[in-house]
Symmetry: C5
């Protein structure tokens, strides 16, 4: 988490509204993709220059401009000038530590949220900030890195499945948010499986390696939570604001989105509840083990220490030890030892240590 | 929990409003049952085809169509078309991870909640989603699996007990929800007994097997909670909405339902309070045991280790050890040992270790 | 707690409004007591038949009918018919798992709460549900078992102390609730003393028997809490509703009641705070003990185990052991042992183990 | 806490509005002190009889009657009659378990709060209830015991420092509350120092005596909290009520008081946060110690137990033990022992136990 | 924390509105700095006397007077008189335990908050109170000590970066608060790194020194929290109040500030969540170690104690011990010992102790 903030010290020295990319530069080129469509046509191209967008925007009803990579601040300024986007919005797009929020301006609606993926190999969450700008006939999305969770939507657009090809830009705007939020369920499913695995392990095989995994998933849940809680009120804001750019018919879908958000919050909270107890479960398993270890030690030591003392007695070299000369002394001693050991075992069984 | 979500990855790729059954296919046939009645007549039949419903609906004042099994999406679409049910509602019926909620449309009221049973053998909750659609003279219920908790209501209908045969469809709608929620009390009773059992065991006989049981019941309480908390506001919604299909005379019963929901929430929270402390109680019992084990070990070891050393001294083979030749050396040594052991015992008794 | 619900399974099968006594039948006869009074006269009799009430009700300004025992459902129905009490109210009277609540009907006000006594012998709370029905000139109270906390009020009525004999039925209604709630303070006082006792014990003498007592009082506090929290809003409801049957002059007393309820809630929460930490205090005392035990074991074992080894060395039977024949070997060996033991003691003192 | 309630059982038997002093009788005489002043004059006398107050009240603009000791209920009744104070207010003055509250009557304003002092010797809080009755030109204060925290105010009055001598009775009323609440900061400062001391001790020298001190300060914080939390809303009530007796110019000072209350609540909550973790810190220090003890035991036992076994082998008296006769057997055995011990030490160092 | 309050006992004796510096006198001289600017000019000088300010204030549009050191109360009174600042405001400036707050007066707006720096050497927070008074064309800031986090703003002013040189005093007022709050992110970044370091250490190398560090950072988070939580509502107050001195165009920047505050609160809460669990993680690591130690002890003791007993048996000096004379007795005994040790090892491996 702290890593992400790492250019803060640099940013602090700048006036508000300055365009500085807070985040790791992804190293690759900035990539611009245009998807333009209406009920009858569909285009999908990677463009080299911002000016190419206009051609598509004129031909089709809805245009979706996707920008991967945020380090080219001049490009951002160009987009900002073209669509009269407020400097503070541009600053929010670049500052990748944004809380999810909806901002309403006369010409556009700005929405920012986290795109979350669960990396099954590293068993960790990947989060990336995605910003959406909804203009009258266009949606512009800004992503930090190449690759996203929006492919299902792209396929739906291409194959003209569902309503999206028949609707205006606000429905695309909704659909993008919907696909991102739906992917949270996939993440939660994976995390749920890992939590269950950890729980099983905590109960049956409390290896120390479990604790770091537990810490890891707790942190992932914190990230998830920070990404999801604010969504609730921000989607309500989308519903309440009644911005002219969002049509009334889209509201019922936004309400559906709201329901999904609540369901995700519920699940995240359940998972937190489940993980909170797990360290205690692990410690109790460990205590059980320790207890078992202690019992074995105690039983063995308690039986043999007194017997060893008896053997020690008759190993003494005093000249006047009448027992030493007695004929049955040896077997009697062994017998006494056996009786003592037996009595101890009975005592331990009574204590339920065996 | 995660298991139930397992077709999410598949679903994510589809547009909102797509009918996909998220849940385990129950394997059996979809079963349609019709109960139709008014004050004077009562029918109860299993039908083969949706079209058979109409005959009953015309004859009797109220018709209850119950559908067991959700995997036949074409049947659902047919019902949806016939009664103009919104595609998002149909999607909610199929998505068995719904949060309890009430949705109001012009033609109908949709209510979804969890039917919860406690399996006394497995000591675990069985949850199943049940969706209710209240139409002017009809209630349609959608269940995932065969078998439910509604038999008491069916008997009441058949034997014409209570008001239900004299009332309209909204009272049936209320009665179904009421029977389901009443069954929560039965579950809580069973869970309460198990919690008390676990508590007694944690105090008296802290076996390791207790921890998984505890985890299990905690998870069950989480499930219960997720199923009950949202009910509170959703029943309030039913009361507040004043949908024309719900008569004013039913409101007092809905308020009663609200009281029940609050009582269930109270009990679930109490149970959570009780279970939260139980692991600590278990650990304290375990600590007690460990303490007792340690004391025994310490007493035995502390008494005999010094004595063994004394015996070891006189077991040495030095040629010049004057004590060895003394006549009373052996009994004196034994006496010294007895005195040391006695002093130790006194010391332990003073420390309250005995 | 679960025990009380034990006839739920039976009740679930019945329509709402059915009169079933959920609770343990007290075994004894139902007892009807009438207290009738005004400023100048006072009657107190046990009656055999409901019809006898009328004679008193006509003679005196205020009549208080107290019913002990709820298993005679026909009697309840008779009362219900006579005073037009709603079936759902009668059901609430019988269902002894009610949350405290106030219900307002045109003809009467219904109030239900818990009568709580602390049994100093069993060190446990006794709770009993008491229902009050306030009619224009009459208060009817329904109790589960014989015996109650209302005797102070009865004495006040008989001896005409305070305002109650000069006021109408709503003041009696208030006074009954007031006496019951005042008794909560007595319970809390007793519980407070027990908590302090447990705390002292946890600090000074952490016997295992403490944990069950702690669990017990925690559960009692849960019961207390469940009984008191809802009272707050229900008394507010009494204040807000302005039902014609409750006179404006009684409102200031109800506000006083409200203050008491808040004070009780405060105390219950403080007690919960105090008990929550007690198990940890107990465990810390136990850890202290364990630590002390471990130190003794470690000191004894650490001192004597090396010495025993030295003695073992010279107990070996090798033929070529030059030390064995040396004249000062024995005393030197003893001296070495003493030096080692002394060094160990110095080491332990440095570590503050002694 | 429970001690203070100890006459509840007696009080329960009395009607509401009865004057019973719930609290320990202070043993001493009731003391009445009058301070009367305006901008030009100042009187301060102990009076013997209530009637003497009038003389001062006529001469000066503002009169402050302070009553120490609550056991003379007839005096209270006399004051009540003289100034038409409601019986429920008088009851509240006597019941020293009041929650802080403001009550508004036509003729006067009643305010009750806790006067809290920190006894640095006993390391404990002393709380005492103080009731204020604000009349048009008079403030009457009721304290339980002699001695209070109001001396700074008395000096200010005497030396005519600040505005108080120029203002009316409501400013005196505010000033008294202000001085009491300001003293909370002094208490918190002392408690803060003790908490820091405990923390340092928990980290460095975890003696068992720390736990009772910790419990003690936790309870003190609970008392503090119970005394402060309700003040917040009660001072808001003073601000909101706009009672004619409180002048508009005093409002800004009350708002300042409100800010102080919030600051105290913040500090109390911080302290609670800090103390909650301290027991765990103590336990972790204890665990560290235990760990260290265990390591020493393990190292010594693990090294010498095998060596003792080897010595035991060659202490056996078998006739056919070829090693016994070998010339280098003894030094070789000693060497083997040294090698084993050395190997163990290396192993322990690798495990970071040394 | 308690240290800072240390002149409270003295202050309590004074009337409200008294100017007493609560805090450590910084020892150095009070330093007055003037920065005056408009779009075309910029002055930055240290002045010796308050009267010098006027010259600058007349020349430039906006003047920023910064005062370092609060112990010169006469200077404060002079400023108060000159700009008609209310005595309670002056008292707030001096009382350096202020909660962040905004106060609105006809002539000015008062804002107080904490300037927080993270000292990377001491690994601790430095907090200092900074008060801002916004007058029509002037901002006066009061700091306790020399040195602050405002240099980035001063550079921006000097180099005329951003909008600030073109705006009026309210924008300067906003900019100062903005720079201070932005520095909180820098602190959080440093703290985040330390928390991660502690977590890594708790998992891998649980040294006792970790616990004090953990306590330290917890306390820092408490301080941070106390400084940030109230900011949220106070910035809302700035937005809501619509004071004529704050222009509408500044509101959007204040909303941005509000978003930052929320983000800081989120992060502080996440950090608290993360630190709360760390002590448990540390204890679990410690338990793991203890467990490992115990296993080694148990394995060694359990194997060798019985073997030592066997050796002890044959070390006894009885005359009639037939085994002693047998030829193969010695190797057989050694063999038996080896078999016992082997069996034990198998047993331990089965128990997963090896």
């Amino acid at each position: 988490m702290a890593k992400k903030n790492s250019s803060y010290k640099k940013k602090v020295a700048l006036p508000p509204g300055s365009l500085v990319h807070v985040g790791k530069a992804s190293g690759t080129e900035v990539r611009l993709t245009v998807i333009a469509y209406d009920a009858s046509q569909y285009y999908h191209t990677v463009i080299q220059d911002l000016s190419e967008v206009d051609a598509y925007a004129q031909r089709a009803a809805v245009t979706w401009l996707n920008i991967e990579g945020l380090h080219d601040t001049r490009l951002l300024e160009a987009i900002g000038n073209k669509h009269s986007i407020h400097p503070l919005t541009l600053e929010d797009i670049l500052n990748t530590n944004q809380r999810p929020k909806a901002d309403f301006f006369d010409e556009y609606v700005y929405f920012v949220l986290k795109m979350i993926r669960y990396d099954n190999v590293r068993k960790a969450l990947d989060t990336e900030q995605i910003s959406l700008v909804l203009l009258p006939n266009m949606v512009i999305t800004f992503q930090e890195h190449p690759g996203d969770v929006l492919d299902p939507l792209r396929q739906r657009l291409e194959k003209a499945k569902g309503r999206v090809r028949h609707e205006s830009a606000d429905f695309l705007f909704y659909s993008i948010i919907d696909v991102i939020i739906d992917h949270y369920f996939v993440c939660l499913e994976d995390m749920g499986e890992e939590i269950e695995g950890l729980e099983a392990q905590a109960l049956e095989n409390p290896v120390p390696g479990l604790v770091p995994s537990l810490q890891h998933i707790k942190r992932d849940l914190l990230i998830m939570r920070k990404g999801v809680w604010p969504l609730r009120e921000q989607i309500t804001a989308l519903l309440r604001e009644e911005h002219p750019i969002i049509q009334a018919s889209t509201a019922i879908y936004l309400r559906d989105l709201y329901d999904h958000t609540i369901a995700i919050i519920d699940t995240v909270e359940s998972f937190r509840d489940m993980t909170f107890g797990l360290l205690d479960v692990y410690l109790s398993s460990l205590s059980n083990r320790m207890n078992e270890v202690m019992k074995v030690l105690t039983i063995i030591a308690t039986i043999f220490i007194p017997l060893t003392f008896i053997a020690g007695i008759y190993g003494m070299n005093f000249q006047h030890m009448p027992e030493l000369g007695m004929k049955w002394a040896y077997p009697v001693t062994l017998g006494v030892c056996a009786v003592i050991a037996g009595a101890m075992l009975v005592f331990f069984r009574r204590k339920h240590w065996l």
